[in-house]
């Protein structure tokens, strides 16, 4: 403190600064806020205490189902006991390292992709390579790995693969649909609109039902496709319609002058799209695409209705064991935590991207 400050400027009253000031401003500004604060504190203290007691203090972390039944708290031992089935479904127990490695590879690839500076062709090739390695790991049959049929695939790797392959394969389809919807050719436009609106108007479950019961009827006698592949096709169709709408939004945001300039240069339709329009449109579309990916990641859990063992179904099935049936809540909390970690990470990342890309535009 210099003497000037001490002499001419009086300090703000103690009640408006520091911890007290913060409390007054943010928690006790008027009687209504006081009441709300006390209500919220009451809920937090009572609910929080019950939760901590149940989930931590009284919980059984290791042990058998008998230990769990004796305790009054949560039984996290169920997660430890059933971890293989919860995470990998019916995948053979002794081969557990393979789905684990596939999942780890996926997560590493995902983490690497978050680096904006690495975006480009090599990353795309990296993704394709990861998918191939993951497929080889899961399927086996080469390099001395025992073959495992897709019926036995399950758990987290299945959820990750269904959603990420779904969104990646749906992207080109969605792009074409979005361009089709903005086309001046009436029939192309009508077909695109019809597909997009039809798919967006019905629930994913009905698309998955269609994939599971109608696709087999479409194919000629004797040809069958795997249940997993059918679900994957359903997910791709569904995601494509949503991606198409996001891309259309991006295309609309590109100023008209850009289209006209591309025409003036004499570029063909595809060249002008590839070189001028899409690079600008897709930049805007990245955050909504991450949003669609989060949605698809959560919606993949619906494949349990057609009998695939994704993470949710694997967790649900794992507690069918009569010894552990009483501890379903703990199992579901575990599944919820896994979903939450992925989705929360992606949604935070999408917000970060939005800021990053907006910063580039507002310069």
């Amino acid at each position: 403190m210099t003497d000037i400050a001490a002499g001419s400027v009086s300090r703000p009253p103690a009640a408006q600064t520091g911890v007290v000031g913060w409390l007054r401003q943010n928690l006790f500004s008027n009687w209504f806020n006081c009441a709300l604060t006390f209500l919220a504190l009451y809920v937090i203290v009572v609910g929080g205490k019950a939760l901590v007691d149940w989930a931590l203090l009284d919980a059984t972390f290791v042990g058998t189902f008998e230990d769990c039944r004796k305790g009054t708290g949560a039984c996290w031992a169920v997660v430890a006991e059933k971890r293989h089935f919860m995470l990998f479904g019916t995948y053979p127990y002794e081969e557990a390292w393979r789905p684990a490695a596939a999942t780890a590879l996926f997560i590493v690839t995902l983490l690497v992709s978050t680096r904006r500076s690495l975006w480009g062709r090599p990353l795309m090739i990296g993704w394709i390579a990861s998918f191939i390695v993951m497929g080889v790991l899961m399927r086996g049959g080469v390099l001395g790995l025992t073959p495992v049929t897709t019926e036995n695939w399950g758990g987290l790797p299945l959820t990750l693969m269904l959603s990420s392959i779904g969104i990646i394969a749906a992207f080109p389809l969605g792009l074409v649909l979005a361009l089709g919807r903005r086309s001046t050719m009436p029939i192309i436009k009508a077909l695109s609109v019809a597909f997009i609106e039809l798919v967006r108007g019905v629930p994913l479950i009905s698309v998955l039902f269609m994939a599971s019961v109608m696709f087999p009827l479409f194919l000629p006698e004797g040809v069958t496709i795997d249940k997993l592949l059918r679900a994957q096709v359903g997910i791709i169709m569904f995601a494509a319609a949503y991606i198409a709408e996001a891309v259309r939004g991006g295309l609309q945001a590109v100023p008209k002058g850009q289209f006209e300039a591309a025409d003036a240069l004499g570029l063909s339709y595809w060249k002008s799209m590839r070189l001028i329009i899409l690079p600008q449109a897709l930049r805007i579309v990245i955050p909504p695409l991450v949003g669609i990916f989060i949605g698809m990641f959560k919606d993949t859990s619906l494949v349990l209705i057609i009998g695939l063992y994704d993470l949710l179904n694997a967790v649900r099935t794992s507690i069918n064991d009569p010894n552990w049936r009483a501890f379903g809540t703990e199992a579901y909390i575990f599944a919820a935590a896994v979903f939450f970690v992925f989705c929360y990470f992606m949604s935070k990342y999408s917000q970060y991207l939005e800021r990053l890309l907006a910063a580039g535009r507002n310069r």
Binding site: T37, T184, L191, G201, I205, D299, L312, A336
Partner: protein
């Protein structure tokens, strides 16, 4: 056909308009090409369609599955626990389908109303000046949004099934019982005056709208505002209450009571319904909260400040200045949330609530007529989606900024 040259004119089309462009070969003409492309697309799609349809017909014939909608008149033979219209297993498939459809509409309609209320409260709470409330609301939104709805439905259903059995029901309020069997609550025995009250209620709403219009006009002409709250309450609730009083104030509630192994009397909803409704409402409310928050934040601060400068109270500012402007931002994304809720109600199949999809799925399994069954399911959802979208578009247009 493709000669529309407005907007992004095709290169060939632009050239022909100019003075004397050198005439290229006909296959380089954009218009000709457009027609060719479209004919080609239609042919490819027809080809694929023909291939799929012929395969399907061959497969159906080979599996001895009938086609057509004749099965709708046959006896369904499936029990459905909850039905808004009378239904027995001896009823037809058509009726079962109708029951499922009504259940879907019923749960979606209630869900939309409750999710809007909860979502608005949470959205406003996230912007609260009270730090604790804002934090609690954002924790709620983040947790709910990042967990799949189906998982949440399982958890809600598990919680409801873990409730005590009917004999030891919880009774949070007298006459209301919560147990494994569902929620039992009292209803009034039917009385002739109820019909009159209902008519008066509708009449009251209509009269309120009329008076409100008149008040608005008077304010526009004379500047004198017409306080609406009292007259509105009087018209909407007063009229039916007067009729009730004239009829001798009949009050005869049908309270559920434990008799033998189950409750008698009153009305009830099943755990499946409660779980589905709770799941849909809490999930959708988290998304609606975000749109409400974004909408309120989109109103410039200057609007608040200007209104304060004019001397308006905070509630009046919110009601007359901020909300009308925020609504324009809120309505379009909320529409898609309503659509999502309606579509998500199909997850009922996971907890065995007999909605359209569960009934449809049983129907497909029993008759084998997958194509018809799925087409019927999709048709209903498409119609519902279009109806909700049409209504919300109409509403959106009504509240949109009127520009000259």
């Amino acid at each position: 056909m493709a000669a529309r040259t407005e907007g992004r004119a095709a290169p060939g089309g632009a050239a022909t308009g100019a003075v004397s462009a050198p005439k290229g070969a006909w296959w380089n003409d954009a218009n000709v090409r457009a027609v060719l492309y479209q004919i080609l697309t239609v042919l490819v799609i027809l080809g694929i369609g023909w291939y799929l349809v012929s395969n399907t017909l061959a497969n159906l014939a080979q599996r001895n599955i009938a086609t057509g909608f004749g099965f709708l008149d046959r006896e369904a033979g499936m029990p459905i626990g909850e039905h808004l219209i009378s239904y027995t297993p001896a009823s037809s498939y058509g009726r079962a389908y109708l029951v499922g459809m009504l259940n879907t509409i019923f749960v979606s309609a209630i869900g939309i109303v409750l999710a809007t209320i909860l979502g608005t409260i949470v959205g406003v709470a996230r912007l609260s000046s009270n730090w604790l409330i804002a934090k609690l609301a954002s924790v709620y939104v983040e947790v709910i949004r990042n967990i799949p709805l189906l998982l949440q439905l399982f958890v809600w259903y598990g919680v409801l099934l873990a409730l005590p059995p009917a004999r030891q029901s919880l009774s949070p309020l007298p006459g209301i019982f919560l147990s494994q069997r569902g929620l039992y609550f009292p209803v009034l025995y039917e009385h002739p005056v109820h019909a009159v009250m209902l008519i008066l209620l509708v009449l009251g709403v209509v009269l309120t709208v009329v008076v409100h219009r008149w008040g608005k006009r008077r304010q526009a002409l004379t500047g004198k505002p017409f306080p609406m709250l009292g007259p509105a309450l009087g018209l909407i609730f007063g009229l039916p209450l007067i009729a009730w009083a004239i009829a001798g104030a009949p009050f005869d509630p049908n309270v559920p009571a434990m008799k033998g192994f189950n409750f008698q009397g009153g009305a009830s909803v099943t755990p499946e319904f409660v779980a589905l409704l709770l799941g849909l409402v809490t999930y959708t409310a988290a998304f609606i909260a975000e749109t409400v928050r974004a909408g309120i934040l989109a109103v410039p601060r200057g609007q608040w400040e200007a209104a304060r400068a004019v001397g308006m109270s905070e509630t009046r500012i919110l009601r007359l200045i901020v909300l009308p402007q925020a609504l324009r931002v809120i309505v379009p994304p909320t529409t898609s949330q309503y659509l999502n809720l309606t579509k998500n109600s199909s997850l009922a199949v996971g907890i065995a609530y007999p909605d359209l999809v569960s009934v449809g799925y049983t129907m497909i399994n029993q008759t084998g007529q997958a194509v018809e069954g799925i087409a019927m399911i999709m048709a209903v959802y498409l119609t519902l989606s279009l109806l909700i979208a049409a209504f919300m578009n109409w509403y959106n247009k009504r509240i949109a900024l009127k520009e000259r």
